[in-house]
């Protein structure tokens, strides 16, 4: 009986298994075909992910919508692309603008377009397209902050941008060049004939200006809602097909550098988080992957799957920020002591092992950019805050803190405990905070970690003043002002208004102030400085004029020294731009070209990189 059953069951079992096996085999064959990197005739399909604009269901192919399905560098072409120069955010790589000149006073920018630039429908890109685009920039509030006043067409390929009379914004050049250009034939119809009169009126004062600004906002909303039926691109590619998870971009043969573009098409994939990018890379699907945070074990799997890690500097760091209004964090010795307790190497190793490096010291500037602002002598003169519990102890005792039975007590006799605030889901921050918690607790300050359920809640509580010690991104470049505005800008209550610099307290709607640093600080060897005022001065240095960079760097040197001494934040690790390329199908990557690596692979292709094997 037993043997008969066995004899009968085996063929059935084989049949049962055959069905799913056949499905799996067919699926494998089909998915292999559909994701093949090469279409027929030796055509090469480049597969990538755009981190800044992930494909989103229902989103329009309109770059002016905050949630859009367009891809900068591929089907969206800017006049230029940021070179990510830490000290000079005006450094720009040519895009649709072949060349440009800035007047010595920095107020007039004359742009010469690429002579061969064409839209994917065969029409040439002209100065009129740029003027219509500039009008749209106004409706989207892209250029008001850079004091753009008027735009004049000089000839079919030349446009002139001028600042509002009397103003001098040192970010004007980048503020104009790093914007997208869209076809006037599609977007021009969204603008009223009187658009430039409205723009001019909005630059005045009084009720007329307010009414014009409202009109611009109304037009701006109409622009963002616009959903073009087809993608007309001035970039190297144009969207041929798109669904809610993938986009197929085909080559724009009228692109000004079409001969540089080697892949015949681009397959853009959707993603919702790091895990998807890891999966794509582990499966070998991506030819280039954007910046992706990952733990070491995942890195090993990704590299084992044939991907190569490409590293470039990144202008961002993470820090522990203090609300100095909350006792005892307003005492400089307390913040300095904590900087001596925290082992930044250990925190980075656990928190951001792959995409971070421990900050050399705490200055408000990423370590790699320090040499842009300081001489070697100045760098060596900074306090490096090595892990030194003895120094921390001495500093705390000097501030009348006491230690009994391993526990530190505040000068008022109460035990000192710390709650580190963090965000659920930010795995690197959470892992880093666990190390800090352990270090501070071992030192005698019982520390706990409090997680906000999401980033929105975290920011709300932070700006309400609910977090005395919290994780915070700092040193965001490029550009000197951007770098320090994360410490001594809006988040410290400083809001410029014309020539004046206002300061608002925590909780005021005008500023998301939670840092509450003092108005001025005394720094040994530097005297008394006002970091908020110094940071604001960075906006008015004429970077195009002679001595502009030197003037900027002198201010930056003061800010760096002041931040290093007063420690409004403890800089933990600097992020590094870790991307991945896969050389199975393509070669010629811009490795070592830090300016290009900051841009999308579409821009790499424009500059002659990325060749099919």
């Amino acid at each position: 009986m037993k043997s008969r059953r066995t004899h009968v069951m085996n063929p059935r079992r084989t049949r049962y298994l055959a069905v799913p096996a056949a499905i799996l085999a067919a699926a494998a064959a089909l998915s292999a075909c559909s994701s093949s990197a090469f279409a027929g005739g030796g055509q090469a399909t480049f597969t990538a992910i755009d981190e800044t604009t992930p494909i989103t269901v229902g989103a329009p192919m309109n770059p002016f919508n905050a949630t859009n399905n367009t891809f900068p560098g591929y089907d969206i072409e800017n006049l230029g692309w940021t070179a990510n120069d830490p000290a000079n955010s005006n450094q720009t790589l040519p895009g649709l603008a072949q060349t440009w000149t800035l007047s010595p006073d920095g107020t007039t920018l004359t742009v010469h377009l690429q002579p061969k630039a064409g839209w994917s429908n065969g029409k040439p890109v002209t100065a009129s397209d740029v003027r219509v685009s500039a009008a749209i920039w106004f409706t989207q509030s892209y250029v008001q902050a850079y004091n753009l006043g008027s735009v004049k067409v000089i000839n079919a390929k030349t446009v002139q941008f001028t600042q509002i009379p009397g103003s001098s914004n040192n970010q004007f050049e980048s503020g104009i060049l790093q914007n997208p250009v869209v076809p006037a034939s599609e977007y021009g119809k969204l603008l009223p004939a009187s658009i430039w009169s409205i723009i001019a009126a909005s630059q005045g004062t009084g009720k007329a200006a307010a009414a014009a600004t409202t009109q611009l906002t109304t037009i701006g909303k109409k622009v963002t809602e616009f959903a073009p039926k087809t993608d007309i691109s001035a970039g190297p590619f144009a969207i041929a097909r798109i669904n809610s998870g993938e986009a197929e971009l085909v080559k724009n043969k009228y692109f000004y550098a079409a001969s540089n573009i080697r892949p015949s098409e681009v397959l853009m994939l959707h993603y919702s988080g790091n895990q998807q990018i890891w999966s794509y890379m582990q499966a070998g699907r991506l030819d280039a992957a954007p910046y992706t945070s990952m733990p070491t074990n995942v890195l090993n799997q990704v590299v084992a799957a044939g991907n190569t890690k490409v590293v470039a500097p990144s202008l961002v760091a993470v820090a522990l920020a203090f609300d100095q209004k909350v006792y005892p964090y307003g005492i400089p010795a307390v913040r300095q002591a904590l900087a001596y307790v925290i082992n930044r190497q250990a925190v980075q190793r656990v928190g951001e092992a792959v995409s971070g490096i421990p900050s050399k010291t705490t200055t408000g500037v990423v370590s790699s950019a320090l040499s842009d602002y300081l001489s070697p002598g100045q760098v060596s003169g900074l306090n490096m805050y090595p892990t030194d519990p003895a120094k921390a102890t001495a500093l705390l005792k000097s501030a009348h803190f006491t230690q009994k039975g391993g526990q530190w007590y505040l000068p008022n006799g109460k035990p000192w405990t710390i709650t580190l605030s963090n965000v659920s889901g930010f795995s690197d921050w959470v892992a880093g905070s666990s190390v800090i918690k352990s270090e501070l607790t071992s030192f005698g300050i019982p520390t706990s970690v409090k997680l906000a359920p999401d980033y929105a809640t975290y920011l709300t509580n932070l700006y309400k003043g609910s977090y005395p010690v919290a994780f915070w991104l700092i040193a965001l470049g490029p550009g000197a002002y951007s770098t320090f505005s994360r410490i001594y800008g809006t988040y410290d209550g400083y809001v410029p208004s014309g020539a004046r610099l206002n300061r608002y307290p925590t909780g005021n709607a005008a500023a998301d102030n939670f840092l509450n640093t003092p108005n001025s600080v005394s720094v040994p060897g530097l005297g008394t400085v006002s970091p908020g005022q110094l940071t604001n001065q960075l906006t008015s240095v004429n970077l195009s004029g002679s001595g502009g960079i030197a003037q900027q760097n002198a201010i930056m040197a003061k800010l760096i020294r002041a931040t290093n001494y007063t420690v409004p934040v403890i800089q933990l690790w600097d992020y590094i731009n870790v991307q991945f390329v896969n050389s199975k199908r393509f070669t010629h990557w811009p490795i070592g070209n830090n300016a290009l690596l900051n841009a999308s692979p579409g821009v790499w292709m424009t500059y002659g990189y990325v060749h099919p094997k």
Binding site: N65, A66, S244, G245, L269, Y280, L476, S482
Partner: protein, 330 residues
């Protein structure tokens, strides 16, 4: 006439329920801390934009955040709803919520219905087998498989399948509803592409609910098998097929109620499944909108899911009367 009256009552109750849910979600989502503009700006920084780019990308968002007092917003919301208008998204800067929902809904409906159908058919068939052959090893094996799978949370099954078949053995595609290089239409490559892209999410749904169907069906069949009318039917010499029909029809009744309830469960589960498989349906949109504090999209997506569940329940309630005549007599 009686059916029409019952339908009218059910629909009226459904509408009241929808109003309650719409009102509840309207106020609840606005109690959540966070500002859509701040979140968008900081998220852009996190995704590698520099401060100037992030500022530009979010500058106009302010204009889409409602500023009126909450009661005014609520009144306006109800007025819009009465006109089948779900409002305009904040994070999509003015794109109608109905447009976003319409783009996302088909993929969730396909997945949820396929998942329910597959799990129901397999689970019910296996349940009958497990009941009939309950004294054999095969019956035990089926029961154990049902208990095990029923105990594993849906998202765990989904993650395991995703890791196995999209990462270790990259057999199935994910992250899209179909291969974008294939022209949509009634052609074999497109249909096959749809199937392969939906395969893993549907299997995850099916596996997670298969155990429930199996165990319920098994106990239901066993209980019916012991009923006097089955014994009477056998004694009267009715054909086995007729007896089987009696068993099936009576054993199915409790399952039919569960089927209606499972639609809600499956729609709820779509949040996890779609996130894990990066599948762009309603659950995914809902999750995204929560992260971005896009109140109109949150309420719109939630309302659509709730409405689907309420109407599925009404439909099931009405069909129950068709299946079980005793309900009609009440």
């Amino acid at each position: 006439m009686r059916l029409a009256r019952r339908l009218g009552i059910k629909l009226a109750a459904g509408l009241v329920m929808i109003w309650l849910v719409a009102s509840g979600t309207f106020f609840l989502v606005r109690l959540m801390p966070g500002n859509p503009v701040t979140v968008a700006y900081e998220n852009d920084l996190m995704h590698g934009m520099n401060p100037n780019q992030a500022k530009a990308a979010t500058a106009l968002l302010y204009g889409f955040v409602p500023r009126q007092p909450l009661p005014v917003q609520y009144g306006r919301y109800l007025w819009q709803l009465a006109h089948f208008n779900l409002g305009r998204s904040i994070s999509y800067e003015g794109v109608p919520v109905s447009h976003i929902v319409a783009a996302a809904a088909p993929w969730t409906v396909i997945m949820v219905l396929s998942g329910i159908l597959v799990s129901f058919l397999i689970g019910v068939s296996a349940g009958v087998l497990a009941a009939i052959r309950r004294s054999t090893k095969f019956g035990d094996l089926l029961s154990v498989s049902g208990s095990l799978l029923h105990g594993i949370p849906q998202f765990v099954i989904a993650i395991l399948l995703a890791y196995a078949f999209t990462t270790i053995w990259a057999i199935f595609p994910f992250g899209a509803p179909y291969d974008v290089t294939i022209a949509p239409g009634w052609n074999l490559p497109f249909i096959w592409s749809l199937i392969t892209h939906a395969f893993l999410p549907v299997v995850a749904y099916a596996l997670s609910s298969y155990g429930g169907w199996l165990l319920t069906m098994k106990s239901s069949v066993i209980s019916v098998l012991g009923d006097d009318f089955i014994l009477a039917a056998e004694l009267r010499g009715l054909r086995p097929l007729t007896v089987a029909r009696y068993i099936a029809r009576n054993a199915m009744l409790p399952l039919f109620t569960i089927l209606a309830l499972s639609i809600g469960f499956m729609f709820g589960g779509s949040i996890f499944i779609e996130e894990i498989y990066d599948y762009p349906g309603l659950g995914y949109s809902l999750l995204e909108s929560i992260g971005k504090r896009d109140y109109p999209l949150m309420t719109g997506t939630f309302l659509i899911i709730t409405t689907a569940v309420i109407f599925a329940n009404i439909l099931a309630d009405l069909l129950y009367g068709v299946i079980d005549p005793r309900v009609r007599r009440i």
